[in-house]
Amino acid sequence: MLDFKKEDLDTILIRYNVLMEKTMTPDEAAEQLYPKDPLLKAVAEAIYEGEEDDVIDALDELLDAGKDPIKLIDEALLPGMAVVSALYDQGIIFLPNVMMSADAMLEGIEYCKTKTTEIPKAKGTVVCHVAEGDVHDIGKNIVAALLRADGFEVVDLGRDVPVDEVVEAVATHKPAILTGTALMTTTMYAFKEVNDKLVEKGLNVPFACGGGAVNQEFVETYSLGVYGDQAADAVSIANFVLKNGSNMDTLRKEFDVY
């Protein structure tokens, strides 16, 4: 069997991922980010582990200690999830952890809601969709999950969404931003149509676009477009808009890929 010696490998290939792996384990890194308060830390840990039952248990302890269920969302669940997001951004943990943590956190939010009649206010709404004619929705699903994980209310219109339906949803939900995903060169042109109809109706909502077929140059051909390369960029864009408003120039400058 043809083979070579281990020491010969590095003229053939280099596993940069192995070279680059952080010396800290994810658990160690998480440990440094957890809140100090032991009860809050328990929530964060349960979210990090993606254990829904543990999240509920930890919330129960806080509720028993008299905490307000709605405040717990902002003070326990979202900060817990923020630990996970931070680790993902740093490349220490991978997407499935985020997805499972987000599921656990959302479960926690639902649980808190059952404990009160108040309606919690999300930090902002985002409408997500996949371009008309396109069924590639994995990227969009990731985008939606990361946004939820960051505390946004997500209106997920699904895939292959007709232009008018997108525009209507924006009119109805008045989101901080709209996101679009397109994986095919044939479908991404729908973004332009969406843009023009939004502008026509005076709905000047930043329109973050991404997905395999899409690039910055194309996205900047329509007035509301801002390009994002990675799913996590959608979260950054949404947060940036919440903080700095929706001036397209500053937005584009901030998220220029090059």
Binding site: E21, N97, I138
Partner: protein
């Protein structure tokens, strides 16, 4: 057609397998025999977006593509070529569109065959249009339209019929981003296989009726999605160990097409096809360093190891300095084939195969397991459990883990901690799975009916 499960290996050992040759070659098109001792370039292409507006515009675009490609083949002296047209939606939703394209392409190919003697065949890959906006709709009206598209394309000149079928994808999509091994196995191995059984019996009948070739499927919708989410070495969306487990399971699934009457060549993007070739002996198409126009992977050479057709996956038709894209890419593929054929004719095919495979073997866990020697072992695990589509999927996954563990132990396959952890989790998940198909299905039905809102069990007959 009836379904005949594979329970034995077509090849007595891994070393017997190499490129350009398969146990059961397939005659197709104009003078071609695929897997008969020579490798053939398979060119794929996508029309430019604006040509999708009408049947006429599409036909003209495919005529340009066909003529350009055939011309280049002649200019460089390549003896043979396969053209693959992957339908854009319109062509499958309106079966007469796809058929018109097939006819136009075949007419040009016949010209070249007559004038120069170029051996060639035309593959049409019908789009799997069996879905409504939010749900898969695998059986019913859309299926009828799809089958009509197969029939009309075959009548109008398509020599090889293929599809990238999507059964099981709704459960898979949910599971893969949650490291949910059971869901991945259920989506690919159980639901996917069930749908393949259904789809491919029909396609095989149509092929037989029209005297063309029922060529084969690929688990693009699932295993390739996993591979893409996993991405390059520095991407952080999915462990590459998870992606290769999904891939091994997909071999147990895609194999079912050949059990339902397909004869190969299996489709290019089925990275599971080395495993399947080992079991079924069919010729296969593969893609790798010649398909960087379409996607990036971490095994650009290795996939060439046992290919019979060598493909570029897909490239949009447009101009480059060296001609149109189809000309550029078909030329690169043709030279790769020329190298393989030279090796075959001089008796050096095994050393070339080994060099190709070795150059990627330690690059990534995916390449490691798909190295033909390891792929053969995965094949054995599947064949040993061939009758039960659940158990063979599980066996494929287990064998995959075993191979990875031994690679780690041997010291040359160096994984990140993250990849190793994902592997450990999968091993544990697999251990926790029941030994009986019925039980597994029951568990999964409960779970995914509850968790996956778009999952409709009536799409499948389990």
């Amino acid at each position: 057609m009836a379904i005949n499960r594979y329970t034995k290996m077509a090849y007595a050992n891994a070393d017997e397998m190499y490129f350009g040759k398969s146990k059961f070659p397939v005659k197709a098109g104009l003078g071609l025999e695929i897997g008969a001792g020579y490798a053939i370039p398979e060119l794929n292409y996508a029309p430019r977006p604006h040509t999708g507006v009408s049947k006429e515009a599409l036909v003209t675009e495919y005529e340009k593509i066909t003529r350009d490609a055939m011309n280049r083949i002649v200019q460089i002296g390549a003896p043979a070529v396969v053209l693959e047209t992957e339908h854009v939606q319109q062509m499958s939703n309106n079966p007469t569109w796809g058929a018109a394209v097939a006819h136009a392409q075949k007419t040009i190919m016949e010209e070249f065959h007559e004038e120069y003697g170029v051996k060639c065949a035309l593959r049409h890959t019908i789009g799997d249009i069996r879905e409504d906006r939010d749900f898969l709709a695998l059986r019913g009206e859309k299926n009828d339209t799809m089958l009509e598209a197969f029939d009309l394309c075959a009548k109008q000149g398509a020599d090889l019929l293929s599809i990238e079928s999507m059964g099981g994808k709704e459960v898979f999509d949910y599971s893969i981003v949650r490291d949910d091994t059971a869901g991945v196995l259920f989506g690919i191995g159980v639901l996917g296989t069930s749908d393949i059984d259904f789809v491919w019996q029909n396609i095989a009948d149509i092929a037989k009726k029209n005297k063309v070739v029922a060529a084969g499927d690929t688990d693009c919708a699932q295993a390739n999605t996993a591979m893409f989410i996993a991405g390059g070495l520095l991407d952080k969306n999915l462990a590459h160990t998870t992606a290769i487990v999904a891939r091994c399971i997909s071999a147990a699934r895609t194999l079912a097409a050949y059990e339902a009457g397909a004869t190969g060549p299996g489709k290019d993007c089925g990275y599971e096809h080395t495993i399947i070739k080992a079991i079924a002996g069919i010729p296969i198409s593969q893609e790798g360093k010649g398909s960087t126009c379409a996607h990036s992977d971490v095994m650009g050479n290795l996939t060439m190891q046992c290919c019979d057709l060598w493909s570029n996956e897909s490239v949009e038709y447009h101009g480059e300095f060296g001609g149109t894209t189809v000309q550029c890419w078909v030329e690169s593929l043709a030279y790769d084939c020329s190298l393989m054929n030279t090796a075959l004719k001089t008796g050096n095919q095994k050393i070339l195969r080994d060099l190709l495979a070795l150059s990627d073997k330690y690059r990534d866990p995916q390449g490691y397991v798909l190295h033909y020697e390891n792929a053969y072992k995965v094949g054995e695990a599947i064949a040993a459990n061939g009758k039960d589509t659940y158990l063979r999927s599980k066996a494929a996954a287990e064998e995959c883990c075993k191979i990875l563990e031994s690679g780690i132990k041997e010291g040359k396959l160096v994984l990140t901690r993250f990849e190793q952890n994902a592997l450990k989790n999968i091993e544990n998940d697999l251990k926790a799975m029941p030994d009986s198909r019925e039980k597994f299905i029951e568990q999964c039905m409960d779970k995914y009916k509850a968790e996956v809102s778009v999952f409709k069990p009536e799409n499948y007959v389990l």
